[in-house]
Amino acid sequence: MAYSIMIVDDSDTIRAVLARTLGMTKLPIDAIISATNGRDALDKLKDSFVDIVFTDIHMPEMDGITLFETMNAHPEYKDIPVVIVSTEGSTTRIAELRAKGIKGYLRKPFTPENIRDIIVQTLGEWK
């Protein structure tokens, strides 16, 4: 058993970079599930067990905040931690997101250490 991680971003490049960087964290990762927007993520959550979701904010069809709010209102998904991945660095914006219940904030560009720290802080060290 290992972590199952969902990546939600409309950019092919960022999904691929995030998946590649996750592979460099040396964390045990069992599955990486990719989705292109919030609606696609909700569809894939129906069939997938996910430990943590990394999502962009601005996406077509359904943005990352709406995805979080929808998951938060769903009995099966409300306990899955959501991490926002963004280029924005406003502490005011980050505080607003945390007040909503977002578990973490990953700023682009990121390193394997940044991702590892967020996963370990959010889910705990894998034993």
């Binding site: 950019s11 092919d12 490049t13 960022i14 691929a16 970079v17 590649r20 601005h58 963004s86 280029t87 924005e88 660095g89 406003s90 502490t91 005011t92 914006r93 700023r107 682009k108 560009p109």
Partner: protein, 155 residues
Amino acid sequence: MNTVREIATQTISRILGEAAFIFTDALADGAKPSDATWDADGVSLQFFGSPGGELRMWVSKGFACYAAANMLGIDGDSDDARRKGTDALKELLNMIVGNFITAAYGDTPVFELGLPKNIPHDLMEKDFASPDAVWLGAEGNPVLFILETDEAKKP
């Protein structure tokens, strides 16, 4: 060069290095394209706040694939690099603008970012001739950027 433009230049260099492992310096003498027929790809991103503005970046054809390949750890001549080149360039600009805003205006104000988009080649001629044009060399490739802000338009 004003302070905000210096910060933009530093941010572009930092993000290209950190995200795409592309290192920049001042454009070497003679490396600037000779005229506005430069075969270049352009992307732009607007930001909204106080101030609002836009950053436009022009790079030589092929640079986007090179950036994608570096970001993804794949062969620059691969179909995957060619397919992802434009997307990679837009994402680099997104990172540049997001990080530039914090570096230039602090981390308290909230700015809204637009979506990065391709810009038509005929706009390049205007940017090429602009007195605000900043040129960088990125491992031998010319990079042109223009930063426009509401602030800069104030008397």
